[in-house]
């Protein structure tokens, strides 16, 4: 079993603060994805990173894939209440594109 460890598990911050959360594994993945899930809904893709060392930006969100393709980080600048949700990382592996998720990070941004 390829495990994806996400940290911290819970984060509560004030609007306007910056934050960084992490997704780590001992395994190499072909790609790593970040999803965001709101209550009562299925997860929705935020970004996919494929190349070691890759950095992608999505407005106030910055995603980085580790050089060894085993870990990733998500940095949010000037967090807003609308960023509140469950952030899940997922790694792809195997010949048939198996997709495995971490336990998720519950983020709460207070106004």
């Amino acid at each position: 079993t390829q495990l994806l460890e996400q940290s911290p598990q819970f984060l509560s911050i004030q609007e306007g603060e910056n934050l960084t959360v992490y997704c780590n594994s001992s395994s190499v993945f072909s790609s790593l994805q970040w999803y965001r899930q709101e209550p009562g809904e299925g997860p929705v893709l935020l970004v996919t990173v494929v190349t070691g060392g890759e950095v992608k930006k999505l407005k106030r969100l910055t995603f980085q894939f580790g050089d060894a393709r085993k870990d990733s980080s998500l940095h949010i600048t000037a967090a807003q209440p609308g960023d509140t949700g469950l952030y899940l990382c997922a790694g792809e592996s195997g010949a048939n594109s198996k997709l495995t998720f971490g336990k998720g990070i519950t983020l709460s941004v207070r106004p």
Partner: protein
């Protein structure tokens, strides 16, 4: 607009019953997945399928089986439901290439009493 549809939003079944959860996608995707989501445990992969009649076990396949007779439909079967299978079940589909997006259904909240 892409769509993954799960047959039921809420389901209540009795212990020992055989339960079928259905998932249909309209995007001609090769890969389909079944996960269960429990508080603090994230999404755990039960089974996935990479082609019609092809399947691979995930991390927690015990007590479950799957069927994929047609490309668009992937069924999860609980052979004999137990209370520890009470959970949120999520179906997803994606193109079979690496780096492509997985699309999720809205989930089925299953309660086994």
């Amino acid at each position: 607009d892409v769509k993954v549809t799960q047959s039921s939003r809420y389901l209540v079944k009795r212990t020992g019953e055989k339960v079928f959860l259905e998932c249909v996608q309209d995007m001609d995707h090769e890969n389909m997945f079944w996960y269960r989501q429990d508080p603090g445990l994230g999404l755990r992969l039960i089974y996935f399928s990479y082609d019609v009649k092809m399947k691979e076990k995930g991390d927690i396949p015990e007590g479950y089986s799957v069927s994929r007779e047609k490309k668009e439909r992937f069924s999860l079967i609980l052979e004999s439901a137990s209370t520890n299978q009470t959970s949120m079940y999520l179906c997803a589909s994606k193109v079979g290439q690496f780096g492509t997006e997985a699309f999720f259904g809205q989930g089925t909240r299953l309660t086994v009493v």
